[in-house]
Symmetry: C2
Subunit: 480 residues, 2 copies
Amino acid sequence: TQISEIYISQAAAKIDVDFDYDGPLMKTEVPGPRSRELMKQLNGIQNAEAVHFFCNYEESRGNYLVDVDGNRMLDLYSQISSIPIGYSHPSLIKLLQQPQNLSTFINRPALGILPPENFAERLKESLLSVAPKGLPQVITMSCGSCSNENAFKAIFMWYRNKERGHNNVTKEELESCMINQPPGCPDYAMLSFMGGFHGRTLGCLATTHSKAIHKLDIPSLDWPIAPFPRLKYPLEDFVKENQQEEARCLEEVEDLIVKYRKKKKIVAGIIVEPIQSEGGDNHASDDFFRKLRDIARKHGCAFLVDEVQTGGGCTGKFWAHEHWGLDDPADVVTFSKKMMTGGFFHKEEFRPNAPYRIFNTWLGDPSKNLMLAEVIKVIKREDLLNNATHAGKALLTGLLDLQARYPHLISRVRGRGTFCSFDTPNDATRNKLITIARNKGVVLGGCGDRSIRFRPTLIFKDHHAHLFLNIFSDILANFK
Amino acid sequence: TQISEIYISQAAAKIDVDFDYDGPLMKTEVPGPRSRELMKQLNGIQNAEAVHFFCNYEESRGNYLVDVDGNRMLDLYSQISSIPIGYSHPSLIKLLQQPQNLSTFINRPALGILPPENFAERLKESLLSVAPKGLPQVITMSCGSCSNENAFKAIFMWYRNKERGHNNVTKEELESCMINQPPGCPDYAMLSFMGGFHGRTLGCLATTHSKAIHKLDIPSLDWPIAPFPRLKYPLEDFVKENQQEEARCLEEVEDLIVKYRKKKKIVAGIIVEPIQSEGGDNHASDDFFRKLRDIARKHGCAFLVDEVQTGGGCTGKFWAHEHWGLDDPADVVTFSKKMMTGGFFHKEEFRPNAPYRIFNTWLGDPSKNLMLAEVIKVIKREDLLNNATHAGKALLTGLLDLQARYPHLISRVRGRGTFCSFDTPNDATRNKLITIARNKGVVLGGCGDRSIRFRPTLIFKDHHAHLFLNIFSDILANFK
């Protein structure tokens, strides 16, 4: 069987090479004339100022995104980290072409009441096959924000049930909740971190603290916000300072829980990203997260890990928090983006105690579960987690080298797997670098106020890293 | 051209007849043995107590839902009102089989930054082709809750900009919003109605007041809640009482706006369903809504009409609020369900004044826009709005007849188009009727505490209405 495995693996690799392009190919500036024309058209219908350019997805393949002006770019941003195995993957095309799958795409059910025959089976072969250890329950949702919103709700219900100690809900609770008042709507809170991003709907937004533009003018909730460690790089030169910084943040977490309880606002849960992504790719040590988990348990708060951007394999493990080596698993883990469907895993004790408590019309989409099952097969067959570790090492090594050569342009190089980033001196330089890179055939994304983040697909290989590094090295050499 | 139109119309009707089944066919009780087995299996993964039965969507066609035990049922609930043109519609199958559409299903973009070439064109041929008059702007979202959440945000931004009177945001606003505090996060509110349902994420949930189970244990916001008219039926016998009831509710709306402003909580908008659906199919007169619209304008509040359940044609107009004959259009109209994609239409003045203010990774899904464009073509080609009026009349007439014959079981028969409903004496009787009907081959849905609601697809015809009425008449005759 070992021989046939090797054979399969090589065949698979061959398919991959076949469907990917062999490099960027630029014909115009980006956005080109056709993109600009379409931007104008779209801007008549909605504010289109965030549009980078328009794409030809039919021609996009593997790691390469093709635009409407015929430019082909190496995509290291992959639709804000949401394309798992590259564009137009042959396995997904095949899936769509199978007549037995048609129904799944056109008959979208209300999953909570009328699921398709294979619903549980498909959850098992997709999401549950990669469930974080200790989290055997899963609920699907349509997007990342809904995943976090509903995870909050599951946590609030769990906390209230724990507080009640029995299953009897009072008449007063049932009546007061209808008019948004306690005790039916208790004064619970989620503790979040400055710099965190957990979505943009009102509940999520109360835990999001990435950029002012995300929050300005939207009413919010008085929920506690702790500082997130601001580590100094290179890490090996600032061991003690960074330990102190992490200890300071953890102390503040405990203080906030106590302080808010004193004013009768109960912290029911703590939400954290393994790597703060939108907020600037801020890392903390595995030790920090283990201690945070301990604090959550000590104070009876649920520990919610938001893996919407970090999950799906790009850090070299399927879930970034698996790097931490937690003794006691997280209580709830949310996902979306590369997972194609939103949702959350949770421990048994967070299971809603009645039907319709965590519910909406669609509860996700079986067509996304179908595609995810195929994506996970490809990840396993092509060993893409190890690939992320390997290609990530090539990328990080190259970035460290560029940092050594261009310290005035690149600093704080950091990353796990291909989930890498670096800082530039300021916002203007960062944006200029992204624009130049795009015109040289590389799509990059920014985050925070002056970082560049790498979010390639899982089929990003060493040779793509080298290709990028060569192009970017030239850019830096000529940067004025 | 008139002759060819008739010809096309007949050809279309023929296709419809061909792909629909000719009646229910029952083999077991529902849920049958296979459904029960699958429920047990799913319940190991998540709370599956809300599941009615498991479905064979491959075999489901037109108005008929087939379950995993081979039972074929006339579906008058259509996945909580979310299947527009029936199961496995030939036009949608054809769409999926066209090779040029494959990419749209497997390469899901981040629409706000990297839209596909045909994005604006597709919005024009789908959503904008049915846009409510006076609302030329549209933004897509993944589901109903996200649609309302983002509509609230657009309203809050609009209100704040109006209040500012200029475009200069202060440093204090930018800093305070990062920690959830005013003035950056102003103390704004949406006014909602008791009995309304607008979704289950935290912002939406603060405006939802349908059932306690939807809200219990979830922290909320102190936002004003007005009474919704409780009309007496038959309407023609209670003209004066109903007018008084509506006047009382409208007066309360104004009082609440004033009262909340006095305590520095500003009502930025009013949200209302044209027919309160989850809350029990509560109707109000067109006059009530016209006056409500006037009150919103008078107090400077945005007027948001939630058409998530009522939209898409089932009332006989594409949008239920088009029946009202508003002089000044609604400001914002949200949709989802039958529209296949979530989103909202709005007036120009509600357009976000900067990029990334209304934003998330996916902003909907082009594969849903593609299917919606086809659905709208079918609706127009097969004249399905008039069909909803016609079939709805057959249904309503029949229900009124049943009400006359079985007044102890059926009361308050009401409806617009096929969006019909009636009350039963109590919860237990309602649920028993639904169960019996299901075992006779008809899927019905409940709403409120004792109502049965009709939410058939748009291809529900007169003969389906008569088929249902015959079956239900027998059920009522034998009901003990």
